[in-house]
């Protein structure tokens, strides 16, 4: 197993020229990141913070003003570097006159598959993302959720080592978000590296091994899930049916051991949890 980074970015900077005077807008500012293999890496940040621009720079869809980027040690401006990459863009749009099967087959061919291997992989990913019944319909007639699934199918059809997902759960219901989370963990279990851009902080926190926050194109924080847990230096206990008398005992017990009980409250169920609980009955309904 090599220790080579899946993505290695050094001093990446991107300026856009705006207006007739060519005023410069810095979208990504001296960004350096090393994303190790086999992990789920989350890229967070407010709108306009440079997340999607960073992804486009990695994929050579935009040319950097400065800096360099390597994908598994290969310079990102070589088409060859993308042989091992699967990419799902934000709000994917495809050739609407193709059928789902033609579309996935087309992308498999572009990634280098051919013959029986291509046909087998296309069938596999179409089945994996629940598109079998719609595979021979034109993509133009697909719903947003089905487009998202077709996007995932084309991203994974060539069995990539690195999967880059830009807002994979955008516009999905909580069941769909949960399904995406499950898929991300599955991809990781298969040994793939996943880079995900999302605004769904809860999902990021749940599945990502490492996260980075961008703001105004700059890296303002980078760390692991463990770093998040330890960041406050506090712990929380959730206890069922604790009487006032026992609460007093607990406070005293903690003080005897040098700790302080800072607050007592009643944690509410998360809305997402209630939503899932009440909609879970629809086991067989269409998820996306």
């Amino acid at each position: 197993m090599t220790t080579e980074a899946a993505i290695s970015i050094q001093g990446l900077t991107k300026d856009f020229a705006i207006g007739l005077r060519g005023t410069r807008l810095r979208a990504v500012d001296n960004l350096s990141l090393h994303i190790g293999q086999g992990q789920i890496f989350g890229l967070l940040g407010p709108n306009g913070s440079g997340k999607s621009t960073t992804i486009k720079l990695i994929l050579d869809l935009l040319q950097p003003t400065a800096g360099k980027c390597l994908i598994f040690g290969v310079s990102h401006d070589l088409a060859e570097s993308r042989r091992t990459v699967g990419y799902l863009p934000e709000s994917p749009y495809f050739h609407r006159y193709l059928t789902g099967r033609e579309l996935v087959g087309f992308h498999a061919g572009l990634a280098g598959l051919s013959g029986g291997q291509l046909a087998r992989r296309v069938d596999e990913v179409i089945a994996r993302f629940g598109l079998s019944n719609a595979a021979d319909r034109r993509v133009g007639s697909y719903s947003k959720g089905m487009l998202q699934r077709a996007g995932l199918a084309q991203a994974l059809v060539h069995d990539p080592r690195l999967v880059i997902l830009d807002e994979p759960a955008a516009g999905m219901d909580p069941a769909g978000v949960e399904e995406i989370s499950t898929m991300l963990l599955q991809l990781k279990a298969e040994g793939r590296t996943v880079v995900m851009v999302s605004h769904l902080l809860g999902q990021m926190e749940e599945v990502c091994d490492r996260m980075a926050i961008l703001n105004h194109g700059r890296l303002v924080w980078e760390g692991t899930r463990a770093d998040l847990a330890g960041a406050s230096g506090r712990q929380a206990l959730v206890v069922d049916e604790l009487s006032m008398e026992h609460l007093g005992d607990l406070r005293q017990w903690l003080e005897q051991r040098g700790s302080t009980l800072r607050g007592v409250g009643q944690p509410a169920l998360k809305l997402a949890e209630i939503f899932r609980r009440h909609t879970a009955v629809a086991e067989t309904r269409r998820r996306f």
């Binding site: 088409a79 060859e80 993308r82 050739h95």
Partner: protein
């Protein structure tokens, strides 16, 4: 940089999808029907042949319709097929695969050429069929017209159709060159029609200035002749009815001329598209 990275198979896949997408749209079908309808219906216009021999009139009007509708088809469908990828962002997904921009553009161009070639083949076959039908009728009705020969050479009809197809290829390459550089599809369409006009009419400037004009005008005419192909070169239909017909050497020269301009426009398109931010 991946400027020279090229895999014919990937370009072929993009060309196939481009052609498939074009064929499933309405515009090419409507234009093809319109042009074929004109070629077939031209027999009804025999009364207004301006004194031309009937078969020549039919061929002129048929090929004229082919050039008119084919040029519209090449510019509109070429521009649409390129910008639908950019505006629709499907190019993002394609270029995120191990596809170089050269392959992408080559695929687009071959797909556009496929549309033009299909149009040219169908139109040439329709024109040849109409000519053959009318010629057979005339041979029975007025055999004296053919006493001294004068039968049509159908090989020349197809050679003329090939030359017009090549002309559409040159126009497609110029359309792609413009589209790869500018961001507005409307501007690309307008500019492509401008190029078509210059290419079609530049022979007038050549005749007017190349020999008799002042030095600056001669230089300008020379520059235009160098930068823009002269589309009259592709008009071999007139030779199809001439005594000697179309010579193989002429066809090779026209093919070489067209391919040179396609290569030059294609290289400029790649150069421009390489720097384009998707």
């Amino acid at each position: 940089m991946s400027f020279f990275s090229f895999c014919p198979r990937r370009a072929g896949l993009i060309a196939r999808v481009t052609l498939l997408e074009a064929m499933r749209q309405r515009l090419p079908q409507i234009l093809l029907l319109g042009a074929a309808g004109l070629a077939v219906g031209v027999q009804g216009l025999r009364g207004i042949n301006f004194g031309l021999p009937e078969l020549k009139f039919i061929a002129d009007l048929g090929f004229g319709g082919m050039v008119f509708f084919g040029s519209i088809l090449t510019i509109f469908s070429g521009s649409h097929l390129f910008y639908s990828e950019i505006y629709g962002r499907s190019a993002v997904t394609v270029l995120a695969k191990p596809v170089s921009r050269t392959e992408f553009l080559a695929g687009k161009f071959i797909g556009m050429m496929g549309v033009a070639a299909l149009f040219s083949v169908v139109m040439t076959v329709v024109i040849a069929f109409v000519l053959y039908t009318r010629e057979s009728t005339l041979m029975q009705e007025r055999p004296e017209l053919f006493e001294h020969g004068g039968r049509l050479r159908y090989g020349d009809i197809f050679a003329a159709g090939f030359a017009y197809g090549l002309r559409f290829g040159v126009l497609a390459a110029f359309t792609l060159m413009i589209a790869s550089h500018v961001r507005s599809s409307l501007y690309a369409v307008m500019a492509s029609f401008g190029v078509l006009l210059i290419c079609d009419l530049q022979y007038l400037a050549q005749e007017a200035y190349a020999h008799t004009g002042t030095t600056p005008l001669r230089l300008l005419a020379g520059l235009i002749a160098l930068l823009f192909p002269d589309f009259q070169v592709f008009n071999l239909a007139d030779l199809a009815g001439a005594e000697d017909g179309i010579q193989a050497e002429q066809l090779w020269r026209v093919t070489g001329y067209g391919l040179c301009y396609i290569a030059a426009a294609g290289a400029l398109a790649v150069f421009s598209f390489k720097r384009r931010e998707i």
